[in-house]
Symmetry: C2
Subunit: 69 residues, 2 copies
């Protein structure tokens, strides 16, 4: 069943940052959608199964930003 | 003879922005180098001949930013 979870990511300052974070998260298996609120730093991820938060954090880190937990 | 001129560009917030502006300016004929100071907004362009400021402004606009004059 599809699940949705909203994470907080710091360091994003522009649309390029949004694109970088979105692209990395979309590479995670099972992810079907990513929506980013640049102003608030909210990153909402929809996936086929519940995601491993460590995997999401690693993807955000790979993009050059930080996931707040 | 090579010339160097420093412009001021507003709106750049991160390294992706720097890359976007640099890439567009490098497409201008005769440009041999672009150096960007993100914090101050300074964009220093080296070119084989003196550049048309309108062309530089258009390149910056194309990248999604604004050249201050």
């Amino acid at each position: 069943m599809a699940t949705t979870k909203t994470y907080t990511v710091t360091g994003m300052t522009c649309s390029h940052c949004v694109e970088a974070v979105s692209s990395e998260i979309k590479l995670l298996p099972g992810v079907t959608g990513v929506r980013v609120d640049l102003a608030g730093g909210g990153v909402t991820v929809t996936s086929a199964e519940t995601l491993d938060d460590d995997a999401v954090a690693a993807a955000v880190d790979e993009a050059g930003y930080e996931l707040v937990r």
